[in-house]
């Protein structure tokens, strides 16, 4: 890990710890109910926030004293693009499309098909089997989604979104 990135991470942890401590301190201590101040709801999160701040400080000190040549590892080519594509597809399916009209089995099949196709297309092109790949993926997507939907709906009695 690079020293700068670790310092930034430590600062983020420090900010989170501070936010938790402040929110816990400002939390209602339920004096009006006459309860012991030692059982106030904000006690444990407050301690957690304070410890987070302390450890963030230790992390920052460790980062400052870390070897200067401890640089960021070289990222794999295309790794960021692949990760962002996977993230966009997953959030698009689970966070946006799910529960907004189409039956789950259709949404699931469409997600599996699009996901597999986008990631496999370069390989299919290189191996000159785009059409076969598309048809195989479509079959797998429909079968997998149908089986999963049947399993949850009919066997585990879950009302699908």
């Amino acid at each position: 890990m690079s020293r700068r990135a670790d310092l930034l991470t430590a600062a983020t942890w420090g900010a989170v710890g501070t936010a938790i401590l402040v929110a816990s301190w400002r939390m209602n201590r339920l004096d009006d109910r006459g309860i012991s101040p030692w059982s106030a709801p904000g006690l444990t999160p407050g301690v957690v926030g304070a410890l987070m701040m302390l450890l963030a400080l230790v992390l920052a000190l460790q980062a400052r004293h870390a070897a200067a040549d401890a640089d960021e590892p070289v990222p794999q080519p295309g790794a960021l693009g692949r990760t962002l594509l996977a993230l966009a597809l997953c959030i698009g399916f689970a966070g946006v499309a799910l529960g907004h009209g189409l039956p789950f089995v259709v949404e699931g099949a469409a997600f599996i098909f699009v996901f597999t196709t986008l990631f496999s297309l370069p390989v299919w092109r290189a191996e000159h089997r785009v059409v076969r790949g598309l048809l195989q993926t479509l079959a797998i997507a429909v079968l997998a989604s149908s089986f999963i939907a049947w399993l949850f709906e009919s066997v585990f009695l879950v009302r699908l979104p």
């Binding site: 890990m1 444990t44 410890l51 794999q76 790794a79 692949r82 997953c90 390989v123």
Partner: protein, 497 residues
């Protein structure tokens, strides 16, 4: 005698055709989960928890333990064939297992892994049956002070031993404890950190959070990594040689004891069981120079150690309500979902339950023996399925797994948010296991701290002066002090082999 009667009852209940089918099916599923790099035992147990919610309690726990044992065992396959551990617990098996495979002895290596796994599990089952009732009886004397320190020790140990630096592990543990405090406060039912949202009052449910941390985060990690070459391997005989077993019986016994002990330590887990057993075997071996170059003894030690840690991790989960590893934490939550109350009162209220778990672990061990000896080649086809097909299917299962317990889309969002946060943190070297321990133990830490302080009227003295509290407090203090550089140099505090 009562114990034997309970064990007999448990085994008789497991002999039904459905139970045998559940055990074999779940072990096979667990082995496949373990085989696939990226899919962990924790994710397997979490996903199957959602699948088994509607099952009879003992059948559900049977399925979950079989998945757990199967996944840890299955991970050795990819470690041997591809030099990629299927689960973190199998990393130590890569060192010698893959070297044996490169020498054309992949089948022999798998046979040794099977022998070690079965031997480790069997030793662990004996320990589970013997020590759980004893520990539960001792724990009846524990109060809020002791439970606070037990919870803290679990989170601290997990943080110390699973990350690149303990500070990062501890921060993740604290994050888990904080997330556990979101929602209605368990003492006064006061809403904490809900920001006025009704959905948040129920808190962050464990299973969606775990599915996010181990499932969604893993999908993102795997898809960002370079594509793996498809597996090509020919196998020699996978039947273990009796000579290998007899020759290394001391290693098996030693690794079993180490694995069980590491498993019992709260929050440490199977991977440390494997590494510690491997290191101890290397120190004691007459063939030390062979370690890392295809040592049968090294592979045997690693696989015995990680599998012995599974029943070991169940001992504190059942007796204290403090899980020994991340998958055991999920399993403990599943037990709660199915009506059991792990902790000191379990032996008083449901003494049969502990022996049911012993019997189930024994059945799971026998199941991995069956698959290890009979179905090695057919099972390996799963490694030929490209990740581009497996990962979206895993994600669909993650989505439904998160959704199915309470059938709220809010839980799907919990899974997504936790998954993205854990993915980003893992990239910066923050381990996820302490987060899980914090999430599971957050409730007990919160309640015990506040109850303890109310009982002592704000005095911290009982946290440090009661005998068991003092020992646990010293343990936590030692873990903290081990990070002071000058002390670490002086005492050479624990370094992972």
């Amino acid at each position: 005698m009562d114990g034997l009667n309970h064990l007999g009852t448990a085994l008789a209940a497991l002999a039904g055709p459905w139970q045998v089918a559940y055990a074999l099916g779940a072990t096979l599923a667990g082995i496949m989960i373990g085989l696939l790099p990226g899919l962990s035992a924790t994710l397997g147990v979490a996903l199957f928890t959602t699948l088994t919610v509607k099952m009879a309690p003992n059948d559900a726990i049977l399925v979950l333990i079989c998945v757990y044992v199967g996944a840890i065992y299955g991970g050795s396959r990819t470690a041997i064939l591809l030099n990629i551990p299927g689960t973190a617990a199998n990393a130590a098996a890569c060192l010698d297992g893959h070297m044996l495979a490169r020498q054309g002895q992949a089948g022999r290596a798998m046979g040794i892994a099977t022998t070690g796994s079965v031997a480790g599990s069997l030793l662990g089952v004996v320990a589970l049956a013997m020590f759980t009732p004893l520990l539960a009886e001792t724990a009846l004397q524990f109060g809020a002070f002791e439970f606070f320190w037990l919870g803290m020790a679990g989170v601290m140990m997990s943080g110390s031993l699973t990350g690149s630096t303990p500070v990062k592990g501890w921060l993740m543990g604290l994050l888990g404890i904080f997330v556990a405090t979101i929602g209605l406060d368990p003492v006064h039912a006061y809403e904490r950190f809900t920001f006025g949202s009704n959905a948040m009052t129920g808190g962050v449910a464990l299973i969606p959070a775990l599915v996010g941390a181990f499932g969604f985060a893993e999908v993102l990690t795997v898809m960002g990594a370079p594509r793996l070459a498809p597996m090509k391997s020919t196998l020699d005989s996978v039947l273990p040689k009796i000579g290998d077993v007899l020759r290394y019986w001391r290693t098996i016994l030693r690794s079993g004891v180490i694995g069980i002990t590491i498993g019992i330590l709260p929050g440490v887990g199977e991977d440390m069981g494997a590494w510690s057993s491997y290191a101890a075997a290397k120190r004691a071996s007459r063939e030390r120079e062979k370690f890392g170059k295809g040592s049968v003894e090294g592979l045997m030690a690693a696989e015995t150690g990680d599998n012995a840690a599974i029943p070991g991790a169940l001992i504190p989960a059942l007796a204290l309500g403090i899980p020994g590893s991340a998958p055991a934490a999920v399993l403990m939550s599943a037990m709660i979902i199915h009506g059991a109350q792990p902790g000191p009162m379990l032996m008083v209220n449901q003494p049969q339950y502990i022996y049911d778990v012993v019997g189930i672990t024994l059945v799971a061990t026998l199941s991995i023996l069956v698959f290890g000896l009979v179905l090695v080649r057919p099972i390996l086809w799963v490694l030929r399925v490209p990740r581009d097909i497996i990962m979206p299917i895993v994600f669909v299962l993650c989505v439904l797994g998160a959704y199915s317990i309470t059938q709220r889309l809010f839980d799907v969002w919990v899974m997504l948010v936790v998954g993205v946060v854990c993915f980003l943190l893992r990239r910066r070297g923050f381990p996820v296991a302490p987060f899980v321990l914090g999430l599971v133990l957050g409730d007990i830490i919160d309640k015990s701290l506040r109850r303890g302080l109310v009982l002592s009227d704000g005095s911290l003295a009982p946290f440090f002066t009661r005998p068991i509290s003092a020992v646990l407090a010293l343990l936590v203090l030692a873990l903290l002090l081990s990070q002071v550089p000058s002390l670490r140099r002086r005492f050479s505090f624990g370094s992972q082999p």
